[in-house]
Point group: C2
Chain length 205, copies 2
DNA sequence: AGGTATACGTACCGATCGGTAACATTGTCA
DNA sequence: TGACAATGTTACCGATCGGTACGTATACCT
């Protein structure tokens, strides 16, 4: 007897290699659960239950829970740089305005109810052991962030570009953490303004 | 860097109720394990094993694992403010120097091998749900930190004291996180310098 | 239609999770 | 010596953990 299935939501065009539908549902649910409540806090049983699939389906698409977590972070990484590039593209040739746009957006996100910080940062805290699949993705994301911020500090003409780039990174990470610690009205809402003050103080005179 | 176990720390005089020795051993071991590897990652079995005690002993001194975690954080909180007050006491009447001393110390700690960030911050990331015993202690610690930093920003004569205080908090939290993410040579080593730049840019002219 | 590869479900595994019951042993101080 | 509190011992609980063996349904391609 045909139970009422969920709404068909095939995004892929007809010609691409048809990926298992279950894998996408699983990853979508895992993304949401891992981000909101933490990776260690979520068991695979809850994921498959909420996704409307069964456990063997999960393990056919993902070798392990750790690798599923890494997949979640890889998708997070992709969306992260999309947001970053949007801020960059909005102000061509003006790195200071690019930073300001990116941080203003972060500041706004941190003021949303139930804000849970950066999935990358959180994963690194949850998995301190080097070499863990989730941590590897997280570390790569952060190193790339540092590289970009330092490059933008150079482009801004800072006296000490590496220090300014690192200072911006500290402010950003601080915003991610304090956003989920303080909620509305917390320190994270000042990240763009503080960054601008720091930039101003770091430019060549 | 946590436990300094040599120092005898009997607070009670001879008449007070003699505290169980097992409780101290358990808390010491839990402190070390929770801090280094995370609270969720450590089971009570490993704690009692490393402490050389048995599980019933743990549950005679602590109502639950969550409360043991909260006890760990309460001790962390105590030691945290001791370090803070040391930096303050070293520069009486000079809040800017106090901040600099505190952040220089943080910057140094972040460059130690196996640095694991702030136990408070990590606990808040591990337990996002409001009302969790561990999170309650963590949030109280962070609110107190914000209060002190803002008060010091006032004492420094900042144009916008709340913004500067919050900016310093962002830098500090960023140092805690990036310290454990990047290890040696990471952005956290610049926290004192960046804070000083931010302070300079925030003072009344 | 028929075969075949692929996706999926049922049922189960051993290990570990946090936590407890009941009782034996110890150390301390009056 | 007696009494009492603290600790140890052993065995156990139900729940959940991540992961899998194996049979069944479905889609596609001649």
């Amino acid at each position: 007897m045909p139970t009422d299935k969920n709404i068909e939501l095939t995004i892929n065009d007809g010609h691409a290699s048809a990926p298992p539908k279950a894998a996408k549902k699983i990853l979508d649910v895992a993304y949401d659960l891992f981000y909101r409540r933490g990776i260690r806090a979520i068991g695979v049983d809850e994921i498959v239950k909420r996704a409307g699939v069964t456990k063997p389906s999960l393990y056919r698409s993902f070798p392990s829970k750790d690798e599923l977590a890494a997949s979640y972070l890889r998708q997070y990484d992709q969306e992260y740089w999309e947001r970053f590039d949007e801020a960059v593209a909005a102000h061509p040739g003006d790195p200071r305005a690019q930073i300001k746009a990116f941080l203003t957006r972060i500041g706004k996100r941190t003021q949303m109810a139930e804000y849970r910080g950066c999935g990358m940062t959180n994963a690194a805290v949850e998995y301190p052991e080097h070499g863990h699949p989730a941590r590897v993705v997280s570390e790569a994301n952060k190193h790339e962030l540092r590289r970009r911020l330092r490059a933008m500090a150079v482009a801004m003409g800072a006296q000490d570009a590496d220090t300014l780039g690192d200072g911006l990174l500290l402010l950003i990470e601080g915003a991610y953490i304090s956003g989920q610690l303080f909620g509305l009205g917390g320190p994270a809402q000042t990240v763009a303004r503080n960054a601008d003050l720091l930039i101003e103080a770091s430019l060549k005179k």
